[in-house]
Symmetry: C2
Subunit: 520 residues, 2 copies
Amino acid sequence: MQSLVELINIQATPPSLSDNTGDLDRLKKSLAVMLEGCQPLVPMLRMAPIAKSFRQAGFKGAALVVRLDAGVQLIDFLPDAPGVLPAMALDLGTTHLEASLLDLLSGKVLERATLVNAQLEFGSDILTRIHFAGDRNGAGENLLMLQKRVLQCINDLAGELARKAKIATQDIVALCVSGNTTMIHFFLQLDPYHLCREPYIPVVNSPDPFGAQDVGLGFHPGATVWVMPSVGSYFGGDLISGILASGLDEQEETSMLIDVGTNAEVVVGNREWLIACAGAAGPALEGGVARMGMRADTGAIEHCSIDQDTGELNYKTIGDGPARGICGSGVIDLVADLYLARIIDIRGKFRPKQPQAAGRFIEQDAGLAYVVVPAAEGDKGQPVLLSQVDIDALMRSKAAMYSILTTITSQVGVRFEELHRIYVAGAFGKHISPQQAIVLGMLPDLDLGVYQPLGNSSLAGAELILLDRQAWQRSREIVAKVTYVELNVNQEFMIRFSGCRFIPHTDHTLFPSVPFFDEP
Amino acid sequence: MQSLVELINIQATPPSLSDNTGDLDRLKKSLAVMLEGCQPLVPMLRMAPIAKSFRQAGFKGAALVVRLDAGVQLIDFLPDAPGVLPAMALDLGTTHLEASLLDLLSGKVLERATLVNAQLEFGSDILTRIHFAGDRNGAGENLLMLQKRVLQCINDLAGELARKAKIATQDIVALCVSGNTTMIHFFLQLDPYHLCREPYIPVVNSPDPFGAQDVGLGFHPGATVWVMPSVGSYFGGDLISGILASGLDEQEETSMLIDVGTNAEVVVGNREWLIACAGAAGPALEGGVARMGMRADTGAIEHCSIDQDTGELNYKTIGDGPARGICGSGVIDLVADLYLARIIDIRGKFRPKQPQAAGRFIEQDAGLAYVVVPAAEGDKGQPVLLSQVDIDALMRSKAAMYSILTTITSQVGVRFEELHRIYVAGAFGKHISPQQAIVLGMLPDLDLGVYQPLGNSSLAGAELILLDRQAWQRSREIVAKVTYVELNVNQEFMIRFSGCRFIPHTDHTLFPSVPFFDEP
């Protein structure tokens, strides 16, 4: 693998009266030989420092070059080749930014860091921020403010990574950003107005690489920024990253990729074709359940189980401390086991008289709630509760998810059984038990080995771009290859959705491994 | 001829649910079809305004694109194609800046303007400014100041041109700058330290095109700057312009190009080969004669003649007003006729007793002076005088010039008689009488039809770059083709120089058309 930025050793003949070639021309000439005739370009503002360093080093050392679509750019000259060549990969998420610092020489990850998105101040969800950005009569000041918050976050993350790795922020020579289409619009200060309005058109899908200085990032003055391309407003670069990281686009067998957040985004395909769709999955799956939901963070119930005979509940929190709430995978485990213990019915409604739930229900203003963790056991003496409202939200999410999966596979005439792999991206993929999701009728009833968690594939894709120069080309090819199905206006999807609002499904032959209870 | 910047008509299909391509990607796709598959790039800071304009115009209008070495760049989108597409060509001279405003659509010159180089404040000659730039322990503040002066001049000129042409400065989409190597270093804020020190190496010969905004020029925000490449410290882009404008590099016959300023720069060649040299010619030829010398400007004696029998002197001033001084061509006419009237001898020394000079000499502190224009006739009641010191300076200049010409032709084994054309660039070429220069032994004794004035070929070359996209490639090819002979260290040159310090020459067989006077 060869990275997009590289060091090339140069040993040029010093100038003389019989060879009066200018310093930069001399360096470019030596470089062109090493690049097999490719003529490197030097950005105007890099000319003086590069020429100075080249001369001071006695016309030998290491040229720092970057491979752009438009050819090779010479961005620095170092008298001695450094031991590491740091670059930053970034998953630019709506709520969190996750970054890694890579060494492009060894291909290793040097450090990782996470930061809360400072845009949260302007709205926790994307739609609120899009609305905030729309001071459409004004000079775009709000949009600029949103961009500044993101840039500050990136600079802060870069500073933290550099500190940990004992390098200078100015040593970072490249950045690759992967994120959903709206976050990329904020990052580039592009008007997001049309992203959420039919026909949902982004300002740009595939931005060209640009200089980190163009947006005021405090990296190496010649550092380049690559932005992962997107397919549409609801199918962003984070998903293209997922496809890259999973290798879906290179395999002969047909596989599926699922990424779940507020939206569920799904891709089916192989090296010949790719079809994609996205649909609102509701907030239940990323910790947005009414009161007790939380991100997969310390103190979140990540897994739990209910003894079907005794109703006894066991749980495990992230970090093993007292429970503070429940994250997506915990909710799925919990509701699946509530169903298997018959504490809820096939519509997801509480059956308070079920003996296994004895002593587990309390009455609240908003109605009945199931006590997951009693106050005495909970963090800061607070109980963890699950209300009917929470379950209803999950039921909508799981119905949406399965509807999306069936709609997209039916579009291409592929049966679930024909899928080689189902890659599940993100925190959801990392923590979820496919088995419990199958019980709920959220994921198809397949062999568990088919399901493969991908981790943060948005970040992994960005890393790949920096480390393997083929990946940038691949990302563009993926965008060109993907057929995007707009579910928001898909009639078939709406019909399927109704059939999915039961556990596991109105057609229980679809889920042979799940017990079916006939009576309400 | 196709220009480097052009308008391309676009009519794209508007977006829909079945075609959710982003606005910029849509525009680039339409453009790629018009560019026969060439993928245009969009600079980061141009994305938002271009996308906005494209959408507001209903996805049809005119794309403004620029052809760079690295491919086509999309810099603007206009709802309606404008009637003119203004670009600025600039001759960046040591004393003056001369500019023209071109319309890239019609290829016509809209306006011309001239401005004194504001760097004069830091020294009238290049060496003083190089010295001033060299606060080598500091932060390069003087160099920055020199750059700022030039940029201010360019902005001022652009403003003047725009006002005259009734356009906005922001409508100017391109700039091509042609100048000597030192001025280009100041313009690009590059350290000129090594330009005047053996082995005379520039920081750069061929800078890559860059954005006008990178240096703070107030043009169109997507405007590009092309800088004419140079061959060496003493053979700048102004000369490459001259070669371009004369077509020397495209002709089968061998010709010569002469550009005279403080330095005389000479090229000999044809479409197969080019050889060049430069040498100090002294200030006499660009109006630097001790007291009365001036630029070819209003009130300068441009031509004069002396009746060989009566000694009567006739002169013509530029603008036909009272005489203020005498410019290069006037000095050449005058000294040639002083020789022919035997008022000076073959060494250029006054012969005060010569009857034709009766009443023409006055005694000054510095010695004898010949009265060209008596005080009563001169501007503001001041006489125009020619002193022995002035003549001595001219003698050195003419000797240098002829030495350069013989040195370079002998290097390539071409006799003067074999030259198809001798192009004479600049104000010198425009005003000079080759006949009188031949009398002095400054130019070879050839048929007068061989001599062709080029005018401001530095400016003409810059215009050509903007108007004909082949010319940029040609300029690079010329640089690659030129063999540069460094005269400053050429022994042969110094020997020849001695032989040239007589009128017309010690070897008067070289100048059969010039009368030779034996006695002193």
